[in-house]
């Protein structure tokens, strides 16, 4: 069986996988990182979003072998070793942006990438459009949108530019 070597949450792993094994299967079943979820089979729901080399990726849509040499961050890798949450996680908690918690890991990973890639600021409409690849059935997105807007200043260390608000 082919091997893949990758770094996940800062730790290097070499794993044997089938050619058809998906990245999400490697994370959940080989590495036991069950925080990344599978909510569909058509790359629509976004519950499986992780960061691959800093970009958000639906890990159900990438073969494990394609991640050879990559650096992957999952929801388990966001908080600091002392447990301090990433600002996005903290704002999700603060604004009640999760209910059942199942879409949450993918939503948080997508939201972080969205904020990272918009240093110029984000409007509500941009946040909504930016998260349209992630389904949530519980929250109606209302509080997720609030949480992402609240995380922007914390992640960029400045207030959101007025034009974007």
């Amino acid at each position: 069986m082919p091997q893949v070597t990758l770094t996940v949450n800062g730790k290097r792993h070499t794993v044997e996988v089938e050619g058809r094994t998906l990245l999400v299967e490697l994370l959940r079943e080989k590495l036991g990182l069950t925080g990344t979820h599978v909510g569909c089979d058509t790359s629509q729901c976004g519950a499986c979003v992780v960061h691959v080399n800093g970009d958000s990726v639906k890990s159900c849509t990438m073969l494990a072998l394609q991640a050879d040499g990559a650096s992957v961050t999952t929801i388990e890798g966001l908080a600091k070793p002392d447990g301090t949450l990433h600002p996005m996680q903290e704002m999700f908690r603060e604004h009640h942006a999760l209910q059942c918690g199942f879409c949450t890991p993918g939503m948080v990973m997508s939201a972080i990438d969205l904020v990272n890639k918009h240093p110029e600021g984000l409007t509500e409409a941009q946040i909504r459009e930016g998260l349209e690849g992630n389904l949530c059935r519980c929250t109606g997105y209302h509080n997720i949108v609030k949480a992402v807007a609240a995380a922007w200043p914390l992640m960029h260390g400045k207030t959101m530019p007025a034009a974007a608000e």
């Binding site: 925080g35 909510g39 009640h96 059942c100 918690g101 109606g140 509080n143």
Partner: protein, 792 residues
């Protein structure tokens, strides 16, 4: 600590694990020696099973076993039971055909399970299932309830004539007929309530396990693990309840779809017993679309009789309810006691008669989905009121005001069995209209028109019955279960508390809300309260979470248990403080002798109970742990008003909700943050039903919208921000005064959206538009009327 008790918007205790990716959902669990089940399902809506050749599959690499319906039948495995028996108009019981765990003889819907392949790995099981050779003889199928009742329709179950499960009615037909005979006006509306797929984001999953002594454990995605233990143990697998433990750990959304006992739970548990290996099954989303019970699917004719001034005189309703191919656990109760009994709504209509035919079709079974019957009733009523206003020229706001049940009429007996204990529909109505600036709408309509948009505003009121349910009432109506709830409150020696509740949280935040109730009563912090749910091995027999019952019924059980704890604590305190028990007061976490400064803290009393050195041991048992079962005295009756504003793009017909206001009377609010979140989510599902979602079948029963590519789930950019207001009249018959909030959003919102769409299209001759009001439907209406408008 800040204020954490009743009314505080404290942050949720459960979030810490969910945000860190440390939730524990069924698919996250792996048992030593575990093998995997893959379920082969019918891809035909209706076919005779002439043969299943399992030989190649059984010989495939890694395969341990292949089982079919014949194997289960040979082992005496029973069918999946229905939990509610409805009686026909003539008093005879409903048709209740067998619901085999794996199909026997025929398949009756796409997704009907035929065989299970069990292998060392998931991929091996799936690969081997490809080698199953199934010899189908296709039969004509039927998907629509309106087709299924035609004399020429194929029979889904050979022994159920006309595909009729039951033909039921409620209300005073003679009084309604008489009122129609003398009415000045009669307005009639035909409408459908579109079939929906619940789509909790966590697909269903189950792991069955059997140890060497024959003790079984089932891990399952369930809203009510005790109910699953009872149904599966007693009726399907005949496992004694003391040898069957059902664990529902973190559950990723339910919305009703995880109430029912499903075939897969029985399959993995039975197979685990046969193979003596843990057997795991996890649904793929495509399987969820064809195996999770779906929602709604009503076709209804409604007529209102009115006098000259617009007073409602009588309502007559006839509904066809699609049951799908088999009776899901609570399917039969939804279009009867959770629908027709709600047809008074918030109105003082003096006479109501409803008849409901439930019909079998070659589609996925239908059961409760968020709101369950009550959204169908609210949609019917609020569309009908707008159509009455349209047809007869009444103002839709005044028409509602005129017909509301007045605030001084409570308790109010409706003509369809329910007695409302409290409510004030005028207050929620006026508050919502004000919050939505209804008065200023016409100016916004004009401005929108200048931008090439058609803007409309829609109003709906609703009434729901939840806090399900008084057991004696439910039993008299055909329920085969009690509907109380249980709580066990265990005070630990150092004064912190573990609460074992029969309710189950699948997103509602019980670990926080229930802790707030306990913290308030005992004067401790929520950090000192641990809420345990979802494990029949740890919790007394409870009934679970559905029908917005957790706080109204489960919370009341907790309060009852806490009352017992406090009463016992007072007796311990009286002993320690050398006072009469009648003189002991309990407040802010302290037992005090009234009028003195002599007191003991709650923690001191707890320690004394477990270290009873100085204790009234002759008259009082040690320990501080109490159990209470609470059976509700009545349903609870949340009500309210939703106002929706839409804009339609004239060129494309695309509708967009631009403003949404919900003002709900849900009784006492324990955690306003969680309450708002529940309303947001419910409204999103309601907007989804009104504009986007539709489980579409072809005429034979093939599901055409079987994935997220075809079934339109609401996404962040489909939805607006939602303004939520609450206005409380307290429930009069439970100790917390709570009514329930889980479903109100999904009940009030669909008619508000459609009323807004129809209002936006008022110049296009539209009287009614069926859900979902898609861009295509709206565009066609606009196109059809363009030439006429141009000519005028």
């Amino acid at each position: 600590m800040g204020f954490e008790g009743i009314g505080a918007a404290v942050k949720r205790k459960e979030d810490a694990r969910f945000l860190a990716g440390r939730g524990n959902y069924v698919d996250d669990i792996n048992r030593p020696g575990q093998v995997y089940a893959y379920i082969k399902r019918s891809d035909r809506p209706h076919a005779r099973l002439k043969g299943i050749d399992t030989r190649k599959a059984a010989a495939a690499p890694g395969v341990l076993a292949v089982y079919t319906g014949a194997d289960l039948a040979a082992d005496g495995v029973g069918g999946l039971p229905c939990g509610w028996q409805i009686h026909n108009k003539d008093g005879s019981p409903m048709a209740e055909p067998p619901h085999p765990v794996l199909a026997v003889g025929k398949v009756r819907h796409v997704g009907d399970p035929i065989a299970v392949v069990i292998a060392e790995t998931k991929q091996q099981a799936k690969d081997a299932a490809e080698l199953l050779e199934i010899d189908y003889e296709d039969l004509p199928g039927v998907a629509a309830s309106t087709d299924a009742i035609k004399p020429s329709a194929p029979l889904v179950h050979d022994d159920v004539p006309g595909n009729i499960c039951y033909d039921w009615h409620i209300g005073d037909k003679a009084a309604v007929d008489a009122a129609f005979a003398r009415a000045k006006h009669v307005v009639k509306l035909e409408l459908t309530n579109n079939r929906l797929v619940p789509n909790a984001m966590e697909p269903r999953a189950a792991i069955g396990e059997c140890d060497v002594t024959g003790n079984y454990t089932l891990y399952t995605t369930s809203q009510n693990p005790h109910v699953i233990r009872l149904l599966m143990g007693a009726f399907v697998l005949h496992i004694p309840e003391h040898q069957l433990r059902v664990i529902a750990p973190d559950v990723g959304g339910g919305f009703g779809s995880k109430i029912y006992h499903y075939a897969e739970e029985a399959i993995v548990t039975w197979a685990a017993g046969k193979l003596r290996r843990p057997v795991k099954w996890t649904a793929e989303r495509s399987e969820s679309f064809i195996s999770d019970a779906q929602g709604r699917d009503h076709v209804t004719t409604a007529e209102m009789a009115l006098d000259e001034q617009g007073n409602f005189l009588a309502l007559r309703v006839s509904t066809l309810a699609n049951m799908g191919a088999y009776l899901s656990t609570f399917a039969t109760s939804i279009p009867t006691y959770l629908y027709a009994t709600l047809l008074a709504g918030v109105y003082k209509t003096p006479a109501i008669y409803a008849e409901v035919k439930a019909v079998f079709t070659n589609t996925v079974p239908v059961d409760a989905y968020r709101g369950a019957g009550r959204p169908e009733a609210a949609y019917l009523l609020e569309r009908l009121v707008d159509v009455i206003a349209h047809d007869l020229g009444f103002d839709r706001i005044e028409l509602r005001r005129k017909n509301f049940i007045p605030p001084d009429a409570f308790p109010y007996q409706t003509p369809v069995a329910l007695q409302y204990d409290s409510g004030n529909y005028q207050v929620t109505f006026e508050k919502a209209l004000q919050a939505a600036d209804f008065a200023g709408f016409e100016e916004r309509r004009r401005q929108a028109r200048a931008r090439g948009k058609l803007r409309g505003i829609g109003v709906s009121t609703y009434l729901e019955a939840c806090g399900i349910a008084p057991s004696a009432v439910a039993g008299a109506l055909g329920a085969r279960a009690g509907l109380y709830e249980v709580a066990n409150v265990r005070v630990n020696p150092t004064g912190d508390v573990t609460v074992f509740t029969g309710a189950h949280s699948h997103g509602q935040g019980h670990e926080t809300t229930f802790a707030q109730v306990v913290a308030e009563r005992l004067g401790i912090s929520i950090a000192q309260v641990d809420v345990v749910h979802g494990d029949t091995g740890r919790i007394p027999f409870g009934m679970g979470t559905y029908g917005s019952r957790s706080l109204a019924v489960g919370g009341s059980a907790i309060v009852k248990a806490l009352d017992k704890i406090i009463a016992k604590g007072k007796r311990i305190a009286a002993h320690l403080l050398e006072a009469s028990v009648d003189d002991i007061e309990f407040k802010d976490g302290k037992f005090t002798v009234a009028g003195t400064d002599k007191s003991k803290t709650f923690a001191e009393i707890a320690l004394t109970a477990y270290v009873p050195h100085n204790y009234p041991i002759e008259e009082l048992e040690p320990g501080l742990e109490e159990t209470a079962f609470y059976d509700p005295k009545n349903f609870t009756f949340p009500g309210g008003c939703h106002v929706c504003e839409v804009e339609i793009d004239i060129e494309t017909g695309t509708p967009k909700v631009v403003n949404f206001v919900a003002v709900d009377d849900i009784g006492r609010v324990i955690n306003p943050m969680i309450v708002e979140g529940q309303v947001h989510g419910g409204v999103a599902q309601g907007i989804g039903q009104a504009l986007l979602e539709h489980a579409v079948y072809d005429s034979q029963g093939q599901l055409l919208s079987g994935s997220y590519m075809d079934y339109v789930m609401p996404r962040a950019d489909n939805l607006p921000s939602i303004h939520v207001g609450t206005e409380s009249t307290l429930c009069t018959h439970n100790p917390l005064g709570v009514k329930g909030v889980g479903e109100v959003g999904a009940i009030g919102s669909p008619p508000a959206v459609i009323n807004a769409i129809v209002d936006a299209l008022r110049d296009y001759g539209v009287r009614h538009i069926d859900m979902p009001a898609t861009a295509e439907k709206i565009w066609s209406i606009i196109q059809a009327h363009q030439p006429r408008m141009a000519a005028e």
